[in-house]
Symmetry: C2
Subunit: 142 residues, 2 copies
DNA sequence: TACGGTAATAATAATCGTTCTCAATTAGCC
DNA sequence: GGCTAATTGAGAACGATTATTATTACCGTA
């Protein structure tokens, strides 16, 4: 079975809240984990011809469960909500080209350390963060 | 006249794009600048009993103009879009308590320098950025 | 000051992403 | 296997934002 680790995390989260493990939830988890980040709509189309048809509402419900259990993280970008895979992949931030829409990922430990420092100074405990740089990518500078 | 500087910026932006200066735009700009950050809905209620009634659509249109001209910056938070005043106030980022919803502002030059460095490494030119730290504020740690 | 072209407005309808409702189905414990 | 509560899919509903449209306001020019 693929994604055994994440399936375990999800099962545990469901058990802890008296919820049930269903075929749909397993299918959605599996499809979700094949991508870095994805929207509900994309998942819906991706699972379009799956044997038991999966409704859009179920996908939204399940993505929310994945967020609660720490497998996914939601990010508001444009009009849609994107869901990031945060288990296998290290945390990363984004540079977004305001001209062509390109998204460049990066990670920087120094920045994260400074964030921790700022938070400590305010008695704040960080659980997660979001950093987005907007501007022009190398191709669009002309 | 209050907010003469920002009015000048807006007028210039409008002129450059063949758009017109209207009473509504001046009123909305003025009301917008009285706050650190605000939503379209809040502005709408705030201007509810203004002499020429101002429609919600006009507020959205004008806020978009303010963003284009660099006077405002939009931020997606929860389901609504918040608009930040960025002319008088220095750029600042936010710590958001996921328990009580408190928003703590901060600014940190070192982080911004590191952002520039990362961007340079990717041939990216930053025009603006957004940094949000999520977690628990000092009051909610219990 | 009046004119004329064009943009802006208010009201409303429409759109889009997301959530809710509800009857039918299914998981998980006895 | 059967009970009970959770889950599902379909479509309606929702809320924030944008488009439409007839009317009004701006502003350069005469």
């Amino acid at each position: 079975m693929r994604h055994a680790k994440e399936l375990g995390i999800l099962r545990e989260h469901l058990a802890k809240h008296g919820l049930k493990v269903t075929k749909q939830r397993e299918v959605i988890l599996d499809a979700f984990l094949r991508n870095e980040h994805i929207t509900a709509e994309q998942l819906y189309r991706m699972l379009g011809r799956h044997k038991p048809h999966i409704g859009l509402a179920t996908i939204y419900r399940t993505l929310n469960l994945l967020c609660e259990s720490g497998i996914a993280q939601e990010r508001h970008f444009g009009s849609q909500t994107h869901y990031d895979n945060v288990v296998h992949k290290r945390h990363h931030d984004h540079m977004i080209c305001t001209h062509c829409g390109a998204i460049i990922e990066f990670e920087n430990c120094d920045i994260e350390h400074l964030q921790e420092e700022v938070a400590r100074r305010h008695g704040f405990t960080i659980t997660t963060h979001k950093l987005e740089l907007y501007g022009l990518c190398s191709k669009c500078k002309n």
